[in-house]
Symmetry: C2
Subunit: 344 residues, 2 copies
DNA sequence: CTGTTAGCGCTTTCAT
DNA sequence: ATGAAAGCGCTAACAG
């Protein structure tokens, strides 16, 4: 085959390597390596000459080859159950931002709330040799979750507890937030309250329950069992649970909701049954998603920046990576109460 | 150093390699490689024996080493301007899902609407040797965008045109959607309309404008210049632009909006100025984001599943990768008109 | 059906 | 301040 004559562009073009640069610059590959890694102790003129060749040839370091020898990929795994959910999308954004600033990239796995896929994702990320992982997983039982995390040199779980030898943890203090939200209700004279609990098996659900009961105890209030209604954490779930609660106790004066979606559903149920919010019934949500400010009446809720949560998780992971630090951190972030029209 | 006696667990544990498996199983590394890659034409007993050793040792293939030799990382780059925006979050989810099913992982870059970061992301993904990229970029000018894409063997751009030798393209037919939405307005007797255009420099803005003008021409309607009001693509932008339009033309009977956020803003402006929607003024949005169904009155809009859009982009990219196919594809997806209360 | 040899592109270690 | 040699863990190409 004759070279250079009407040769078609190859589909997989051979890329410029460190060897090409070294040859053209008349130095060893080692010297080129020193330049691209910005290592000190080099003749300034040599560095400039090599850099010029790099630019001329359009050389780009191969991160895969580098990863093989250094055993670091500068990549973090991020596992979320549903990126289309604004809650997780913002966590992703916060984590990606911090990682990016530190030179790390994010391998994203959306498990679609599927436990099988969560397990598979954790395995795939290990094969890809990520330097660490951030995992948002509410459903996987500890007994299978923790051994999976232990295989990582560095892991951070979000909104869940983990033993210090397994992973670091960054979470919202739902208990405290819920306690203050319910206290706010009592302070404004509400007594006849019900709790739309969501599904209580997960960490966040249990924490909210703890906070709710702490607030009751603070106020010396005791509630019948039918004031607790479990429901899917969705608008539809909220509609149904609120309807059930109002049927059981028609003179209810407040609905405490698992999250803002449930609260929006509660708003709709109140409207369709002729209850005015907040005059007849106060409604409080949880998480402070963007929608909370946009519905009518706007929602009293508590929460914090999910972007901060993701950023904190990433910073925790990077600290562990960069300090070659083995001890786990526990970050518990305090949410703030946002008082709007639904429970003034 | 004595081995095995109170030896502390190393921070970076030496992992099991294909060589370890080969030695324990009493075969060559090649045979192990054949097993982990499921290659046909092997003695079934050998395969089983090797597999048993793999399981016992907990061997996990090193994707980095594999990537170095095969020149394929089974990783796709995905660049979006803002994952916290539901529009892009759903695209990410659709793309991730398709990629995952095909055994590919997603390296996510959120550029935060920053052109510099977009360029840097495209470079970083190249260094990481992704097999292809999906890029959502509205702002980067063609003159800098296209050369960047050309460096990739396979690229897909979303909601933007690209020359066939640069990238494939998957986009929503905004022009057609807008044309039908405006026709719907005319059909219900509206004549006195204004267009809150967003910022027109980007592809989507120009396409919407094309569709809007086509609808005018279809109906034989001519509009004064002050019926076009540009605005940021946000709720606040919509409030201001709608206010301006209603001040300029108090007897307006319809507002066509760049997207649903602008339309929500228009709704708020109408309410605060005493216009009833849809009795006095009809409002139509674009994109059909989840919020569109939740506001009061609910929003007439057009759009399609963003998840599908992302999935289509990923499928287009994978087809190119898997068929070693060099030719670009053009996917133009037709949005559907969703008639709700704001423009019945 | 299985083994041997070579090498992917880079950094590490040790010389010079 | 620079270079030479070795090897990271794996697969491709060929041989047997």
């Amino acid at each position: 085959m004759l070279h250079g004559l009407h040769q078609p562009v190859e589909y997989t073009l051979k890329r410029v390597t460190i060897i090409d640069v070294a040859r053209v610059a008349g130095v060893s590959t080692q010297t080129v390596s020193r330049v691209i890694n910005n290592r000190p102790g080099m003749n300034a003129a040599t560095r400039l000459r090599v850099q010029a060749v790099i630019d001329k040839l359009g050389y780009e370091p191969n991160a895969v080859a580098r990863g093989l020898v250094t055993n670091r990929t500068m990549t973090l795994g991020l596992v979320v159950p549903d990126v289309a959910n604004a809650f997780f999308a913002e966590i992703v954004q916060g984590a990606e931002d911090v990682a990016w600033q530190a030179g790390y990239s994010i391998l994203l796995c959306d498990t679609r709330e599927d436990i099988k896929r969560e397990i598979a994702a954790l395995r795939s990320l290990r094969e890809r040799r990520v330097d660490g992982v951030i995992v948002c997983s509410a459903r996987l039982p500890n007994a299978t979750f923790w051994p999976l995390l232990e295989q990582y040199g560095a892991a951070v779980v979000v909104n869940r507890r983990a033993p210090a030898d397994v992973a670091s943890s960054v979470r919202i203090d739902y208990a405290s937030g819920m306690r203050r939200a319910v206290a706010h209700l009592f302070a404004s004279g509400r007594r006849n309250i019900a709790f739309l609990t969501g599904l209580v098996q997960a960490f966040g659900g249990r924490e909210r329950m703890r906070g709710f009961e702490a607030a009751l105890e603070d106020a010396g209030v005791v509630l019948a069992n039918d004031r607790y209604v479990s429901c899917p954490p969705t608008i539809e779930g909220g509609v149904e649970a609120a309807s059930a609660a109002l049927s059981a106790t028609p003179d209810l004066d407040a609905l405490v909701c698992y999250n803002d979606l449930v609260a929006v559903g509660a708003l709709q149920a109140c409207a369709s049954r002729g209850y005015r919010v907040p005059e007849d019934v106060a409604v409080v949500g949880c998480d402070d998603i963007p929608l909370a400010a946009l519905v009518t009446p706007s929602l009293t809720t508590f929460g914090l920046s999910k972007r901060d949560l993701g950023a904190t998780a990433a910073r925790t992971l990077l600290a562990r990576l960069q300090n070659h630090d083995t001890r786990a951190e526990e970050g518990v972030l305090e949410p703030s109460l946002i008082v709007r029209a639904s429970a003034p």
